[in-house]
Symmetry: D2
Subunit: 281 residues, 4 copies
């Protein structure tokens, strides 16, 4: 029996870095986790245990810290590009480098109504993300948002749907709509103000989530995607994934009471999961 190595990847994941930049009394922090994946000519490492072309994942990790020391990280899309270029330049056997970065967000602590120059409080679970994929032919830059938890209490309906013999859900014109937005978009060009774009798209997603007259998660997801593309000309396409974090009205009728759409049970499981990709036509 003979075998074929169809595809292979290797790299280092969860390389965590805090980079401090000092501008006089004012400090900035960049708090990131980096994932690196190589593809390339690694047949022999698998088939005969020949490591001569393998750059150790430990060296990949060291490289992250070394490049972070040479200059401030800057926007994560830029740091990812520098890492991709370094790895491609120094490793002829590598055909593709994929560099993912997830950034934890920090806010300055207010002290006496002024933002403190060197003390920070966590921005929560939300992450800013970027992914740069580089080959000998060129690079692709995408960015996104992870774990942006939002909830609205008005203007969300779900009715008029297909019923079959197993359908028991009640139709409603007024439900809780809660989701954890995950977004990924592709930049059209490397000459982009990545930070500004990210904030614009985040704002567009939040505002349209809040204000859209919602007939379903799909309906609002599509409106959010359109809004992001409309406001940020540097992107043409966005993917959104939005789990439906169900909040079930608690049945008070068993106690002779009425639930005036006020008392809900938040649930984690099971959950609806809706995703789509929308593109400027």
């Amino acid at each position: 029996m003979s075998f074929e190595l169809v595809s292979n990847n290797y790299g280092k994941s969860a390389v965590r870095l805090l980079r401090v930049t000092r501008d006089g009394q004012q400090h900035d922090v960049k708090d990131i986790s980096v994932d690196i994946q190589f593809e390339g000519d690694f047949e022999a490492v698998h088939t005969v245990g020949d490591n001569s072309r393998v750059l150790p994942t430990d060296t990949m990790k060291n490289t992250v810290y070394a490049l972070a020391a040479r200059q401030p990280v800057g926007e994560i899309e830029e740091f990812a590009q520098r890492l991709v270029e370094h790895f491609l330049d120094h490793n002829r056997q590598v055909s593709q480098v994929k560099l993912g970065i997830s950034e934890r967000l920090w806010s300055r602590i207010p002290v006496d109504k002024k933002l403190h120059p060197t003390a920070f409080v966590s921005g929560g679970d939300e992450r800013r993300t970027a992914c740069v994929t580089g080959t000998r032919a060129g690079i692709a830059i995408s960015a996104g948002i992870d774990d942006l938890l939002v909830l609205r209490t008005a203007g969300s309906a779900f009715d008029g749907y297909t019923k079959d013999s197993y359908t028991t859900l009640s139709e409603t014109r007024d439900r809780i709509f809660a989701t954890i937005v995950k977004a990924d978009w592709l930049y059209e060009t490397r000459e982009t103000n990545f930070g500004s774009c990210w904030r614009t798209i985040r704002g567009a997603l939040l505002e349209s989530f809040a204000a859209h007259p919602s007939e379903s998660v799909q309906h609002t997801l599509y409106a959010m995607a359109k809004s992001a593309i409309e406001r940020c000309k540097e992107i043409r396409e966005i993917w959104l994934s939005m789990p439906n974090k169900h909040h079930l009205p608690f049945d008070l009728s068993r106690f002779g009471m009425e639930n005036r759409n006020e008392v809900f049970v938040p649930t984690d499981e099971p959950y609806g999961l809706i995703s789509a990709t929308v593109r400027r036509a």
Copy 2:
């Protein structure tokens, strides 16, 4: 061989509730998780399987939703009191009810520079907590904060400590100080503006964390505790727990480079863990 039931507890944990309150176009949400524990005369349920005095934990759960429907939750310390009183009043066999509440925090989404009346974004991992313990003799009300993640990049030292043959840590006058504050305090009286106290204490903890010239985690923890007690006269005692979320300077010297206190490896394990209780004398 004979046996003694030394102590026993039972109850329902993780009863999750979202309570919506509507004031015209403006909605408010209270998003809580409730833990209930009973102590009392439950010997027979253990020893002979006699359930006649057992209020099912399912009923405890239902009671949370029923009382949340009767009136808005209000401050979590108040809702916990109403639940404790209900359970003590209706269950003669119960000697103690312990009612813990953990509140997830939400902020309004800004749309066109105004806060949206019915749409919210998560306040992150941080939780506001309360614990009310009621017996036939009276009640005790404590409150706190969970998972308040903070970090500072200046004014934090650790030196002058004991060395022994296994000590390898370098002394420093300038290190990263990051921690996840957990706080619990006891109220002196039931007649308290609990929401206002909570915000005052949170502000005191954040500000003293940011500004204190720190010789150690213990040193700053003590300053934070003092600041909380000074600013909120309704409390006499506070317990703080502060893990040291170590950020290790990355050793760049192996590459012939210097780490100008700029490049750090955030680590989760192992971690220092410091806690103390401070009281107004």
Copy 3:
């Protein structure tokens, strides 16, 4: 500006089910979590909020329980097929149904050296998985293993690799090799004894992990993949993902002591991540 819905998916995730089957005094349990995803003609739900073709995800959930009631679950690949066929048969607007199942494993508790007929202890984090994708043209059946944590203390080397200016890793002929195996394979035919195949492949993976003279994670991963394909003729292709759960030798030389390859620090972050697909040629 006009927009295009490039792709879309929706469904219910984490539908948890425990199905008990009784054969006289002997009970069996099947403990699964089901993920369902539909693709199809759902343009209007996104663009104009028309839900008329949407089968609610709540109905998908109900269907899982209804079909589990009609007959025992059996092998998860078979239950997934029944669900896929049901959804395709009853929903003309759907072009593809993807049905993932993750099975938690239970062992019987031994009592007086016999396996108890109705009491079980958890098999740990490991999961048996299956994924059936059905379209109007046919179905594809894959299966796998998740979270199979293994460790070996001998016969694992890593040396002879590429060095650059950031390489500091020491070469070794004797290291700890620990990983969490994730596997997915595609069945060639629907006429398969899925349970028997799964156990055969699991055994092949474990045995070759244990016994392979390892020059790298890649080297052993390839040997494991070959062994699985060799032993199970019903599969032609397998994908393996194996994070390198690094165990770092602790540096005792600072205390004037020697580490005789006995004292290690297990770490979760960062971790190497190696994956590949191998196919019978």
Copy 4:
């Protein structure tokens, strides 16, 4: 305003260690996580930032590895004792050392029906635990089990309980009983075969969980506690905590079907939580 330091603790948590012991071709592994907490004369570190009496938590961590290098870990209760004694001997300012250890369990991988001498598969989430508390007056040794997940499908009832206006639970003589056992017991003497005791108590807990005719979680918890004390004479007292991992019968009547106690929804939240301490009288 003056302040009092009521109590204080500090130490290192989550010190992870893999210790390999080699006996010819046969290797053994001990995989533990260590938590250390000191109490003592640390007033000045808090009040004036005087670190002169502080042994760094980093040194505590190093000590774990150093002592693990001097001799094999052995039973975790013994390793904890050695660490406690070391810390008390070398730190006059310390009044109490609390040393907790949590052990991950590994089984040998079977290869050709024989257990492999150097390859292991995870024993799952279950942990063996120990806690040794030492003061100038003496030491106390406790041990336990964490995260032992079990389930039974027969012989478990819950009826005859108190009903009030919020009670909706149906009485049953046949329900699923699933729990995650957490146990802690105190040893009467230091001269104990800790490994043998642990296995005896674990067996007693599992067997009585499986076989006890259960009227409630409390009822079975008590039977399990009695069984442990009966079988292991070295302990006098045991604490058990058993969350009720509810499995709700799915309501099939809405589809005109009957649930013959076969189809259940496993739930994580909310959960009952039952704990008690039982002592030999």
